[in-house]
């Protein structure tokens, strides 16, 4: 049975099992490969997307349970129109291998939508579920603060 979902402003109709995690719908059916598979058990955060602005682990959301509009890294901003968080990531030269960064950025953007002036402790708490094996954590912390300042118009 076809399921309808809206991703990055575009509505798709997909004929996939109800219990298929959103992650695999995005990656293998819609070719939105910016969202990454890392663990499949909500332990690494690489698959983080937003549903109605809230960060969720797409490996844990069944297709039938998608409750709102999905935003992925491809929809957050484009190379010629970066979101403030992406621009801060560029300014601080955060990414190394880059594999976890889609998830880090989606999580950070969601944090800043709720908490415009986060403390470092807020950042640590919000991003503790996003693993980075390259160890980009200090630059992530700095970039989130820069993005927060940009978004506040400071």
């Amino acid at each position: 049975m076809a399921t309808t979902l809206t991703v990055n402003g575009t509505t798709h109709s997909v004929d996939l099992p109800d219990d298929m995690p959103l992650l695999w719908v995005l990656r293998d059916a819609l070719d939105l490969t910016g969202t990454k598979y890392g663990c499949g058990v909500a332990a690494c955060g690489a698959c983080t997307v937003q549903i109605d602005g809230a960060a969720v682990r797409s490996c844990q959301v069944a297709l039938a349970d998608v409750w709102g509009e999905v935003t992925t890294i491809e929809g957050l901003g484009r190379p010629d129109a970066l979101h403030a968080v992406q621009a801060a990531w560029v300014a601080h030269q955060v990414a190394q291998c880059g594999y976890c960064q889609s998830g880090q950025i989606m999580q950070a953007a969601s944090l800043l939508a709720e908490t415009p002036a986060p403390t470092d402790a807020d950042i640590d708490a919000a991003l503790s579920g996003n693993l980075c094996r390259c160890g980009t954590y200090p630059r992530i912390r700095a970039a989130v603060q820069t993005a927060a300042a940009t978004l506040r118009g400071a």
């Binding site: 996939l16 099992p17 298929m20 992650l23 695999w24 990656r27 293998d28 059916a29 939105l32 490969t33 910016g34 969202t35 990454k36 598979y37 890392g38 663990c39 499949g40 058990v41 332990a43 690494c44 690489a46 992925t72 890294i73 491809e74 957050l76 901003g77 484009r78 190379p79 970066l82 992406q86 990531w89 560029v90 030269q93 955060v94 990414a95 190394q96 291998c97 880059g98 594999y99 976890c100 960064q101 889609s102 950025i105 950042i123 640590d124 708490a125 991003l127 503790s128 579920g129 996003n130 693993l131 980075c132 094996r133 390259c134 160890g135 980009t136 954590y137 200090p138 992530i140 912390r141």
Partner: protein
């Protein structure tokens, strides 16, 4: 100084790749230029193996795997510096697998000697050995060698390309060569005339490049020595970077594998009927020692693979972690494989009553690489040829292995190298590519992506071996008088080289004792022996290789010696380093100053120091820990490195921090255990790593005194574990001699 003559006599059979092929080449073969592997398309011109010019501009070939370490930025900067291309106009691609892209830098690790006291003869021998990577086309990204290998070669490639472009312009304009300059992708002539490289490329390609070009002095550099915007950054923050797992092709099928969990064991039987009944499952393929499931979606393939009922054979090694460690420990009493350092006389020295003699045994566990991107590859078998898309550190070997697996000639296989979602040595292996090739071979005409589950990835690694060391030290009047180290572990070098070249190299295994025998410490009696444990558990290169365990053994024990001698641990090391290697002493002084080492420490804090010289770079680390209600927090860290010449400070800083984090993660919490012949840990809840909230504040200082380019990807990893263990000792008084540390202490978070 280490005794070069003694070392040479003792261990001159080169330990690693140099003899792997067992071949000698004539001077002519060595000197001749290798064929340019680039096959330019319509309207493109390849001036040499690294520079393609078309009407859109200049594309530079990196020919090394970008796995986060910044080669897609620093290598193009070396080319662009001499070629004179505007940074915004630089495009970079990996390029094909080819002999021309051999990595001669790997040979810089091949001499069985310390490398901090480099002599002219050593440099000459390394130079001579670069013949081997050239002849066998050793295109490998590893050993922290990309930059030192490329430093002259790519600047020269950029300069010769520039010179033929200038020559083409001189001919066309009828002007003397000396009147022309180059800037931002154009040749500039007097009188406001300028011609774009793209307009000159076809003529330039017909001109023989000069045999000799002078490289620009550092004082004239525009890009090198500066922190350049990474060329991969925008793609990576917008989800557009193409990793292996992101390969999408028309008609692509999605597959996964389930291989024998007892590594190297057999599959006795399997029943795929339940799996085949699941909607979306197309095939279950018998791979001999496991199965592949092909489906319309990766998740369906993974669900179905779990539904296959399989009877596995036994493991070809002792079946528990305890039994494996017993075998490794027993190897300490076997005849040594190597004795690459034997200064003074550890056996016959007189011990006086005022000497302090200490002994200790250390162990470390098996470790997985756990790259964020699980192993995967995409393959398309088209009858007489095979195309592969994969993140690999060794594309030439991958092509050869895939060709052999499906019965094609190596020339019929093409590997497209994508971005790597982490490498750390794991992606130097070709197993995941071979499996994809075999699945594609079973379904000719259909492209198939084979993605491993995280559990399959963690349980089918080439592990950093478990290791054991027995250390003995004599402290006389507060100084290190003798140090004897015995190290036992399975041999990564022998296993990896046998997989790569078909035979294990003869001679002592240097990689097995690196980080212990070759440290820049003036200890008058200093002996290190390596003992190899013959175990069939797959082992492989893991960021910093032997240094990863020897750094912990050595720098923990040196700390013990300092304490036993009543000395400050940093001052004790400085005494040893100052007499042996000035740059190593320099990084110790730097971290002392940065960390305020000599200032009084608040109650409830501890500080630890460690220094390791590896990959031609000495790195010193100080870590500060704090007792937070009975749990230990890592509050601050300081790193100083001496890289000789800092080509991109931002990237070097990132590699230092990243190398530290990789080492700290392992030290604090990582352990691969075996039970019933299989790996116990399967996913991040069992095998976690340092996370944002546990991350200390870090400060990095980059020194440039060593006189040669040092590696940056690996050398910050070895000092991480001992610096932390030494800090915990400073805080708690407990000396922890086995990793991971969280067996003994609780960390915050």
């Amino acid at each position: 100084m280490a005794n070069w003559g003694k070392i040479a006599r003792r261990g001159f059979l080169i330990g690693t790749a140099a003899v792997a092929g067992g071949v000698a080449f004539g001077v002519y073969q060595y000197r001749r230029d290798l064929p340019n592997p680039l096959d330019p398309g319509e309207g493109e011109v390849a001036l040499n193996p690294w520079v393609i010019i078309d009407q859109q501009g200049v594309t530079l070939i990196a020919a090394r795997a970008e796995m986060g370490q910044g080669v897609y930025t620093t290598l193009p900067a070396l080319l662009a510096e001499e070629l004179d291309v505007a940074w915004d106009d630089v495009r970079v691609i990996h390029g094909p697998a080819a002999q021309a892209y051999y990595n001669a830098g790997l040979m810089s690790h091949a001499l069985p000697s310390t490398d901090y006291d480099r002599s002219a003869i050593q440099d000459m021998m390394v130079e001579a050995m670069s013949i081997l990577p050239k002849m066998i086309g050793l295109q490998v990204t590893g050993g922290s060698t990309s930059t030192l290998d490329a430093y002259d070669r790519l600047r020269r490639a950029g300069a010769t390309a520039r010179e033929v472009l200038k020559q083409a312009a001189a001919t066309r304009l009828g002007l003397p060569l000396g009147s022309l300059e180059t800037r931002d992708g154009r040749v500039i002539a007097p009188g406001g005339i300028s011609i774009a490289y793209a307009d000159l490329a076809e003529e330039a390609a017909r001109i023989d490049p000069p045999r000799r070009v002078d490289l620009r002095p550092a004082s004239q550099w525009k890009y090198l020595g500066r922190s350049m915007p990474r060329l991969d950054m925008v793609e990576k923050v917008t989800g557009r970077a193409h990793f292996g797992i992101d390969t999408r092709l028309p008609g692509l099928r999605f597959a996964t594998v389930r291989m024998c969990p007892r590594l190297g064991g057999a599959m006795l039987s399997f029943d795929a009927s339940a799996a085949l009944a699941l909607p979306g499952v197309e095939r279950v393929i018998d791979l001999g020692t496991g199965i592949a499931v092909v489906a319309t979606n990766t998740w369906i393939a993974m669900q179905a693979a779990e539904a296959v009922i399989i009877d596995w054979g036994p493991a070809p090694y002792p079946e528990t972690s305890e039994a494996l460690m017993a075998a490794i420990r027993a190897a300490l009493d076997d005849a040594p494989d190597s004795m690459l350092r034997d200064q003074g006389d550890v056996d016959a020295m007189d011990i006086t009553p005022s000497d302090r003699v200490i002994e200790a045994e250390y162990t470390v566990p098996w470790l997985a690489h756990a790259t964020m991107e699980p192993m995967n590859a995409t393959a398309h078998h088209q009858g007489d040829r095979l195309e592969i898309w994969a993140g690999t550190q060794a594309p030439g070997f991958a092509e050869a292995a895939a060709a052999q697996a499906v019965g094609l000639e190596p020339e019929a296989v093409t590997c497209h190298v994508t971005y790597l979602g982490g490498g750390f040595g794991r992606r130097g292996e070709s197993d995941f590519i071979v499996l994809a090739a075999r699945v594609a071979d079973a379904m000719p005409g259909t492209p198939v992506q084979v993605t491993w589950s995280r559990e399959e990835d963690m349980r089918h690694d080439f592990y950093r071996p478990a290791a054991c060391a027995r250390m003995r030290g004599v402290i006389r009047n507060g100084f290190a008088h003798a140090l004897e180290g015995r190290v036992a572990a399975p041999s990564v070098t022998r296993q990896s080289m046998a997989r790569l070249t078909g035979q294990a190299p003869p001679g002592p295994d240097k990689g097995h004792v690196e980080g212990m025998f070759n440290q820049p410490y003036a200890i008058p009696n200093y002996r290190v022996t390596g003992h190899l444990a013959d175990l069939a558990v797959p082992v492989g290169f893991w960021r910093s290789v032997g240094n990863s365990f020897n750094g912990f053994f050595m720098e923990s024990f040196v700390d013990e010696m300092a304490r036993a001698g009543g000395r400050d641990p940093l001052g004790f090391r400085l005494d040893l380093a100052e007499r042996e290697h000035a740059p190593s002493a320099g990084v110790l002084r730097a971290v002392a100053q940065m960390s305020g080492w000599n200032a009084p420490r608040p109650q409830g804090t501890g500080m630890g120091v460690a220094m390791t010289h590896s990959f031609h770079t000495p790195v010193a680390v100080v870590i500060e820990v704090q007792d937070q209600g009975g749990a230990i927090a890592l509050t601050r860290a300081w790193i100083a490195c001496d890289v000789g010449r800092a080509l991109d400070p931002s990237i070097i800083e990132a590699q230092m921090v990243g190398g530290l984090v990789y080492g700290l993660s392992a030290a604090m919490m990582e352990e691969i255990r075996f039970a019933d012949g299989a790996v116990v840990e399967g996913n991040f809840p069992d095998y976690d790593a340092l996370r944002q909230h546990q991350m200390p504040r870090v400060e990095v200082r980059i020194l440039e005194t060593s006189g040669h380019i040092g590696g940056v990807g690996e050398p910050a990893t070895p000092p991480a574990a001992p610096a932390l263990a030494n800090a915990i000792f400073d805080l708690t008084g407990e000396r922890i001699r086995d990793l991971p540390l969280n067996r003994r202490v609780r960390f915050t978070g």
